[in-house]
């Protein structure tokens, strides 16, 4: 649902944080809150992520992945990387960033789910671009929380169709465009496609404009010219 009062990320002034629309109940009545820009003072900006680094979670769905404590240098490295990512991606839905040793899907470096970003040892290897990795996971968080109209609009502009491939009791697989994926694994799911495209918009915009012009335009129309790395 998109209302005329909805603000787009690009409508927010520098120093403001975009909060997208959401539903909630008030005295038992469902209401819809339009997306808006809220003030985001420098002090809060500084503490935004610091409060989200966690050393321990009570529950993690992959039992073979072991949590570990953040080292000071890793925390600093991650904070620097996050500070360089535009705050339009700083979804308040991200509850915590957690360190793990090795992914069950090694060499996977990071995962997202349920408001938690997991960073594995591989994320801190020398050749890894942590800023890029975190951009990708924050894009997943944003996608998961998008209202339906935003997703439908993305499907329309990037050639995803509601035709289901696969067995009925398996993960629903949508039919995607034939060509024009910035990364090959984007053809598997719109969620992966979106995260790849946000990542490319910030790190390789010219390549995205050439390979997937529909995605470039969709992102630019909503996030605007100020959606760039700091």
């Amino acid at each position: 649902m998109v209302f005329a009062t909805d603000k787009l990320p690009k409508d927010c002034k520098p120093g403001e944080l975009w909060v997208h629309s959401y539903g909630r109940t008030q005295n038992g009545t469902p209401i819809w809150v339009s997306s808006y820009c809220r003030s985001f003072p420098a002090g809060e900006r500084k503490s935004f992520w610091q409060n989200r680094f966690k050393d321990h979670l009570e529950y993690w769905p992959n039992p073979t992945e072991k949590q570990k404590r953040w080292s000071l240098s890793e925390r600093e490295k991650a904070l620097r990387a996050l500070d360089g990512i535009p705050s339009m991606l700083w979804g308040s839905k991200v509850k915590a960033i957690v360190r793990f040793d090795r992914s069950k899907d090694f060499p996977n470096q990071s995962s997202y789910g349920g408001g938690y970003i997991a960073l594995f040892d591989a994320a801190f290897s020398k050749e890894q671009n942590l800023k890029r990795l975190l951009t990708h996971e924050l894009a997943h968080a944003m996608w998961n929380d998008f209202p339906k109209d935003w997703k439908e609009s993305y499907y329309q502009d990037t050639g995803w169709m509601h035709v289901r491939l696969g067995s009925p009791n398996q993960p629903p697989v949508m039919m995607g465009r034939v060509l024009g994926y910035i990364q090959e694994d984007g053809r598997i799911r719109p969620a992966e496609d979106f995260a790849n495209n946000i990542e490319a918009f910030l790190f390789e915009p010219e390549k995205l404009r050439e390979v997937t012009p529909g995605a470039y335009k969709w992102i630019h129309d909503r996030f605007g010219d100020t959606f760039v790395l700091r």
Binding site: M1, P61, N62, S103, K104, D105, P107, N108, Q109, S110, S111, Y112, G113, G114, Y116, A118, A122, H136, E137, H140, N144, D145, P147, K148, D149, E152, S153, Y155, Q156, M161, H162, V163, R164, L165, G166, S167, P168, N169, Q170, P171, P172, V173, M175, V178, Q183, E184, D185, I188, R189, A191, E192, A195
Partner: protein, 190 residues
């Protein structure tokens, strides 16, 4: 030509007045869409019906397409002319020209968005909840599905927003060539 149109319109007016019928204008595509594309009407389309039968009501909203990886099936993508967004899909078996699956995209304004409301729409169905693990290492959780295999009904639930995203009906006896394609192990890059 102009004169003929006036004459025709005038006669129509007289005709309508004489018969007591009101003049009915041709509905716009948006009006027609909102009349035809309601959940109840869509749900009542019988699986197995011939493609030609559906042409009259749904033909004007369709984009017909095929997938080279799925030979033997043709798809109708039905879009809302007011938004351009897809609202439904129909799948036809090329061999018999009959409808084998149909899918309804549940909008934010529809009551069926609430999983329990959607479930109650199928009074005789026996759903089981399938809590799918993610097949993507970047994502921890998969979708939730309410599946009635016997009747071929699947309700897809967006886990993060606890909303129904789509409802699919399929002929339980039909084995789609797309089935194997979608079930292939996904390959993610790191």
């Amino acid at each position: 030509m102009f004169r003929c149109i006036i004459a025709f319109s005038f006669l129509s007016l007289i005709g309508a007045a004489c018969t007591g019928r009101s003049l009915k204008s041709v509905p716009s595509s948006g009006e027609l869409f909102s009349q035809v594309m309601t959940f109840d009407r869509f749900a009542s389309i019988p699986l197995g019906v011939n493609k030609n039968v559906l042409e009259e009501n749904y033909g004007s909203f369709k984009t017909e397409m095929t997938n080279p990886n799925v030979p033997g099936e043709t798809y109708w993508i039905l879009r809302d002319p007011r938004t351009g967004y897809q609202k439904a899909a129909l799948t036809f078996d090329d061999r018999t020209q009959s409808l084998v699956t149909k899918l309804w995209v549940v909008g934010a304004e529809e009551a069926e968005q609430e999983p329990e409301t959607a479930r109650k729409r199928f009074k005789t169905a026996h759903f089981i909840l399938i809590d799918l693990p993610s097949d993507n290492p970047h994502l921890l959780y998969g979708e939730k599905l309410l599946v009635d295999e016997k009747n071929g009904i699947t309700i897809e639930i967006d886990r993060d927003r606890s909303e129904v995203s789509a409802i699919q009906w399929r002929d339980p006896a039909y084995r789609s060539p797309a089935r194997d394609l979608g079930d292939q192990k996904s390959q993610y890059t790191f």
